[in-house]
């Protein structure tokens, strides 16, 4: 059963990455698409906590870094999504209390994730944008994620709660 759960998680992350690269460019605003992988990591943090979300964030980020058409220094999205998973996990108690808070947390995480990615580019001098376009891209990407969060968060929460192994639930029960 655990293998099935992991396969489900992997399929979810791959689907998010592929949709982001293949489907959403048709509706992209200024080339910016919703960061579905980031939303998946944030919802994982709501459901399973910072530790699990950081691991999932690392894997999802590495997939974003390595899967075509990525051409930047690998590890940049991994770094951003580990932080996002950890931060979202820290506030998960508040985020689970209401959908509005959850959506706002997604927006904040989108801001943090995209900014960390962009700033890592400045440090590494790899695909580094100028400040103007950086702010514009980050703003559009936060708006995208805020727009999709009310639809995605409840649906993904249900998926993650279903994928949650039994033993974690019993531990929380103590």
């Amino acid at each position: 059963m655990t293998a099935v759960r992991w396969a489900g998680l992997a399929a979810l992350v791959v689907a998010a990455t592929v949709a982001q690269a293949v489907v959403f460019p048709y509706v992209a605003v200024e080339g910016v698409v919703p960061n579905l992988a980031l939303v998946v990591v944030v919802v994982a943090a709501f459901s399973r906590g910072p530790e699990f979300a950081a691991v999932l964030g690392f894997c999802a980020g590495l997939l974003l870094d390595l899967a075509p058409p990525a051409d930047h220094v690998a590890g940049r999205w991994a770094l951003a999504l580990v932080l996002v998973g950890y931060l979202a996990g820290r506030v998960r108690r508040d985020a689970r209390s209401s959908t509005v808070t959850a959506v706002l947390v997604v927006g904040a995480c989108s801001f943090v994730g995209t900014s960390v990615y962009a700033l890592s580019g400045l440090v590494l001098q790899d695909a580094a944008p100028d400040a103007g376009s950086m702010i514009q891209v980050i703003a559009i990407s936060v708006l995208w994620d805020l727009l999709l969060a009310p639809l995605l968060v409840p649906a993904l929460l249900r998926v993650f709660d279903r994928l949650r192994p039994q033993r974690i639930e019993s531990r929380i029960g103590h």
Partner: protein, 300 residues
């Protein structure tokens, strides 16, 4: 710090170790990849991931493409109306095929254009389609095409379409290739002015929509580029990474300041990067692959 009371210790303690460990891992990956330049140890991982995700991207792109070209369908619908009416009367199933014929017709047109390019330039082309695009959040302008090493595509090959130069291949997996667009900030192309054959270097500005422009630095600063002058690729030894004579764009504006040693011209590229679909990869003549080559010799 509500977390201390809220979560049990058993759940919080591992996160203290795991998160720094993962951050360290991400930084290690970045350092490894950034410092080793060519032949990065991450390239093997890239190939593996590309071989798995590439076909998924291609399949998804094929599945969503008929829905993506609604406007093209509406345009050609007029001419097809009579035909559709006749077919509807005959067979409902045929009707759905007509609905996607706008897409097919456009594709045929683009492939015809590519064949013309192959004939005009004399280069052998492998035809491919764009299946995935890098998001602007990644701040690099790359696309995935659905032809890879199995079709004879290698890194550092020129990619063009029927409008002009698109970019060059940076990475290849078996069935897909990643193309760096010429509007990317990291892309530098040697260009030659059409009117006086002066050479210079074109660099992208990192924007691919209507504002997408290239900056041309001329080597000889006594030359004055004229507005509207066409720029073609200069070409390098063995056509790596760019073959010669591919149209890039037109001079839109010219700047020169006394302090700078060279004149700068702004080039508007011929290619519409927001609507990239059918592209051709310039391959050596007689390349063996699973796709038919478009060559200058073959008529059709």
């Amino acid at each position: 710090m509500h977390g201390h009371r809220g979560d049990g210790l058993g759940e919080r303690r591992p996160s203290r170790r795991v998160v720094p460990l993962l951050l360290f891992a991400a930084l290690t990956v970045m350092t490894l990849d950034a410092s080793s330049g060519d032949g990065s140890p991450l390239d093997a991982a890239r190939t593996v991931v590309g071989n798995v995700v590439g076909p998924v991207e291609t399949a998804t792109a094929d599945a969503v493409r008929p829905f993506s070209d609604v406007s093209g369908f509406v345009q050609s619908n007029k001419a097809l109306r009579a035909e559709i009416a006749r077919l509807r009367a005959r067979n409902d199933r045929l009707e759905s095929q007509v609905a996607t014929s706008g897409v097919d017709r456009q594709r045929l047109q683009e492939l015809d254009g590519l064949t013309r390019v192959a004939r005009d330039t004399g280069y052998s082309l492998v035809a491919a389609r764009v299946v995935a695009r890098g998001p602007s959040q990644s701040f690099s302008h790359t696309v995935t095409i659905d032809a890879g090493s199995s079709s004879g595509v290698r890194a550092d090959m020129t990619v063009l379409n029927n409008q002009g130069l698109v970019g060059r291949v940076t990475r290849v997996t078996r069935t897909t290739a990643t193309v760096l667009l010429i509007v990317d900030r990291d892309s530098v192309v040697g260009g030659r002015l059409g009117s006086n054959l002066e050479i210079g270097f074109l660099q992208g500005r990192g924007e691919e929509d209507d504002r997408g422009r290239l900056d041309l630095d001329l080597v000889d600063n006594t030359v004055m580029p004229a507005r509207g002058d066409a720029v073609v690729t200069w070409g390098s030894t063995d056509g790596v990474p760019y073959v010669a004579g591919i149209p890039i764009g037109r001079v839109e504006a010219v700047f020169s300041s006394p302090r700078e040693s060279s004149r700068q011209a702004v080039i508007r590229p011929f290619v519409d990067f927001t609507a990239l679909d059918a592209v051709g990869v310039v391959v050596p003549a007689g390349t063996d692959g699973d796709r038919e080559l478009l060559t200058s010799g073959r008529q059709q």
